[in-house]
């Protein structure tokens, strides 16, 4: 009796299992969509739509102060060619992202090597390494502006004491550009070091032991083991750095505000000036499109490079 009931109960369940399976599948899909919906809605409203809107606006002369809002085709793009601010900023942006990325990688690698070696004070070094990352960029910008102040800054004071010269950093275009690049490296190389250090720690120790047995010295182990093994990570991070530096705004805003003249201005600062300070939405959007194209180009080239360099160990 019991057995029979079980069977008679079991049979309809078995036949309906196909329907209930598809029902649970549908439920599962619905659940997935519900859970990811807030994240994707946010990105849709504040990332996807704004890109399209930026492209559209770049063909208009929308200006809040002038009250204009007409479709003007490519005029903004043609005007950019004659705009000294934009032309100078485009050039310096490219120099800036290349120089800061290379410096970030080189100095980041040096810091990572230091943090990976054994010495008393290593924990202390690893902890303070996070300070440049954690300090607000705008604060770092002003702190360095003051540290490099030609009258009462510490570094120019030391230079004067040692050489008798009186350096005036923020009056000279080239020196200002170098300062922006170096301070940016101060802020970001420690972050790069954290990532590269993680990569180094992921390399199996027995590879080093094997190299030691083969008689490789420290330098050889670094060049023939560490470097090739963390190359994919280095390229990925270099690529991220290039793209992120394109939008870098805070440091230039604080350290030089693009000065002297427009010598250290970057595209990000030009967009802010034209769009947010002068409310020239159309023109600012055209500069934004140039920036977005640069992001797309560098991203594509970077991904291609990255796929070629993938190694396994």
């Amino acid at each position: 009796m019991d057995k029979a009931m079980n069977i008679s109960k079991g049979t309809p369940a078995a036949t309906s299992s196909r329907i209930s399976l598809s029902r649970t599948t549908r439920r599962r899909y619905l659940l997935f969509i519900l859970l990811v919906a807030p994240a994707f809605l946010l990105r849709l409203i504040t990332a996807a739509y704004p890109i399209l809107q930026t492209i559209y606006l770049s063909f208009t002369n929308l200006s809040i102060l002038k009250g204009t809002n007409d479709f003007i085709g490519l005029e903004n793009y043609l005007a950019m060619g004659n705009n000294i601010g934009v032309r100078s900023a485009t050039g310096f942006t490219i120099v800036f992202i290349l120089a800061t990325t290379i410096l970030d990688l080189v100095i980041g690698m040096m810091i990572a090597l230091l943090l990976n070696s054994r010495f008393r004070g290593r924990t202390f070094a690893r902890t303070i390494n996070l300070i440049p990352w954690a300090i607000p960029t705008i604060v770092a910008g002003y702190a360095f502006r003051w540290l490099l102040d030609d009258q009462f800054g510490l570094l120019p004071f030391w230079v004067t004491q040692l050489t008798g010269l009186r350096p005036a950093i923020f009056i000279n275009p080239l020196v200002s550009q170098i300062a922006v690049i170096l301070v940016h490296a101060w802020k970001d190389a420690p972050f790069m070091a954290i990532i590269l250090l993680a990569g180094m720690q992921g390399i199996p120790e027995d590879l080093y032991d094997a190299a030691r047995v083969d008689g490789a010295n420290g330098w050889q182990r670094f060049w023939s083991l560490t470097v090739p093994l963390i190359m994919p990570l280095t390229i990925t991070m270099g690529l991220f750095r290039l793209v992120w530096s394109l939008g870098s705004f805070d440091l230039v805003y604080g350290l030089t505000f693009g000065g002297p003249g427009v010598a250290t201005s970057v595209l990000a600062l030009q967009i802010f000036r034209e769009g947010i300070l002068f409310f020239k939405f159309g023109f600012a959007s055209a500069i934004s499109v140039i920036l977005l194209i640069l992001v797309a180009v560098i991203g594509t080239v970077g991904l291609w490079l990255f796929r070629r360099s993938e190694v396994t160990y």
């Binding site: 599962r28 996807a48 010495f119 996070l130 960029t137």
Partner: protein, 287 residues
């Protein structure tokens, strides 16, 4: 005897070979801490001590600059706004990202890999690149010049990376725990809240800290989208004080005092939770 000699020799060589490391350590420490020292020294000094030559390395410490800030600008209000902005952004980002990360880590869905990839790809978009439409969107939503508005935008910016890290954290949790709960008839909210949340706490804390630092330090959104003291943050305040001239030039003692105020909470957080933050920055890869 010869044994002893070679031992002494090798310990000598070890000491010698560690000299470059210690030199590098000293240079590194000076380079990292020099601007911090300079900022702190200036924030706690009387302005006249900052314009003396030769320079005064350790001026008489004073809290006068902070008192001046409280008198001359709505400093307390800016501080409150910064906290409100950072905390609300952090919490909403964690909530939105946790839900999405659970879906990506645990629910089979056709094309979920591509969706996650698209989400990550959107991280490449520079904040400044879409600043004009964002300004218009906040106007349309009646959220311009409000903490809620800048929180919304920054939440969206921080979500992709947070989702990515949380996915890797959730994937490290053995599925058996949830499976048992599901068999016991637990509902999804129960699983998310009672079963998975407690074991995902390290990941949430990590990303909470990183997002808090990001929001607290954020300049672009408050600078672009807020105009009244009730919504401006400390990062905006420091730019305004810099822009205000004093008879002797820039009021560096006040600028550095705001800088110190912005740096102290962040540095304390970092010193207390170094390992956790590093784990998050490396995408949850390091334990």
């Amino acid at each position: 005897m010869t044994m002893n000699k070679s031992l002494a020799n090798s310990s000598w060589r070890r000491t010698l070979s560690s000299i470059p490391v210690y030199l590098a350590f000293i240079v590194f420490t000076i380079l990292v801490l020099l601007p911090v020292y300079w900022m702190t020294r200036s924030a706690f000094a009387v302005s006249t001590d900052l314009i003396k030559l030769p320079l005064v390395y350790f001026p008489q410490p004073t809290l006068r600059n902070f008192a001046t800030l409280l008198e001359q600008v709505p400093f307390g209000l800016y501080l409150r706004n910064s906290l409100l902005f950072a905390i609300s952004t952090t919490l909403v980002t964690l909530l939105v990202s946790y839900l999405a990360a659970y879906a990506f880590a645990r629910i089979r869905f056709p094309g979920s890999g591509v969706l996650l990839w698209i989400l990550l790809l959107s991280m490449a978009l520079p904040d400044i690149g879409t600043i004009v439409p964002l300004y218009q969107i906040l106007k349309t939503l009646h959220l311009s010049d409000s903490i809620a508005g800048i929180s919304l935008i920054l939440t969206s910016t921080l979500t992709p990376f947070t989702v990515w890290v949380l996915v890797s954290f959730i994937k490290q949790v053995p599925y058996e725990i949830e499976e048992a709960a599901i068999l016991d008839g637990a509902s999804l909210p129960q699983i998310l809240w009672h079963i998975l949340l407690p074991v995902t706490v390290p990941g949430l804390v990590t990303m909470g800290l990183i997002n808090f630092v990001n929001a607290w330090n954020n300049l672009l959104y408050p600078l672009s989208f807020t105009t009244s003291p009730s919504a401006k943050t400390l990062s905006v305040a420091i730019t305004e004080i810099y822009a205000g001239y004093s008879p002797w030039g820039k009021p560096w003692e006040l600028i550095m005092a705001v800088g110190v105020t912005m740096t102290i909470p962040i540095v304390i957080l970092v010193l207390l939770s170094q390992r956790s933050i590093v784990r998050g920055l490396t995408g949850g890869a390091i334990k």
